[in-house]
Symmetry: C2
């Protein structure tokens, strides 16, 4: 199938302006044009865009994504560098995951604390609950952040 930019935007939920911006910045080099100059996207282009979105969500900068896209067109010469970029991305994502998991624990503790405080009608009372009465996930997260606020 072939799509105009508005359809692509609709399908993947990214603004038209963003898709143009990515295209302009070399993140989607092989997009076709009509004789009149309008962009026409293939299913592969749409799929690629989804992949770009995923990488962006890991915090990968536009410039690095462009480098990566250029390397792909560079053939076998660039394999090593591409691997390096992906390995680097992998460690970043692993680090993010580890931190987010810990933070999620802390946030869950806060939520538990607010639930108890509202239930008991009193923050002091919630703060006085002994660790033994906390659910286990909450108990362990509590040690990572000594504020009950």
């Amino acid at each position: 199938m072939i799509y105009a930019i508005g359809e692509v935007s609709e399908r993947i939920g990214l603004p038209i302006s963003t898709i143009r911006y990515y295209h302009k910045n070399g993140l989607m080099p092989h997009v076709d044009r009509t004789a009149g100059g309008q962009r026409r996207f293939s299913d592969d282009d749409v799929e690629w865009l989804r992949y770009l979105e995923r990488l962006r969500a890991t915090g990968m900068p536009i410039a690095e994504m462009r480098e990566f896209v250029e390397l792909i067109d560079g053939g076998e010469e660039t394999l090593e560098r591409r691997r390096q970029i992906m390995r680097n991305r992998r460690s970043e994502v692993e680090a993010q995951l580890a931190e987010l998991q810990t933070t999620l624990g802390i946030i869950a503790y806060k939520c538990w604390y607010y639930d108890r405080a509202l239930e008991l009608g009193d923050e002091q009372a919630a703060r006085a609950i002994p660790p033994e009465e906390m659910p286990p996930e909450v108990r362990s997260a509590r040690e990572l952040c000594r504020f009950s606020w």
Copy 2:
């Protein structure tokens, strides 16, 4: 213990300018000052800064963090709103975790692919490896992204 801004910066690895910026924007309301106007941070202040950093890493905007800090000083009246903010943060972090985990799988597949391509000296050969010979994590991630690039 009491610390000057440079020591805090050193200890937690955040630039001095950022700490000043956070303070100025109401994220650390209770920091002391010397008679001459220099900031003096307590252990609790340092701990609080670490907590702010964690929340920032989840993508929480500065403005929302400031609101949260103000609510804490607002007492019991604000419990409901504080809970709402933390619940909201929780779902955002959960969504991020889910997406990052999937993306990590895809990235791991790419790394595996580059390893094989470099090992075999040929991308075509790597692409020709049948799914049965892939490690299981890699095999499942491969289905999420049909590009071998």
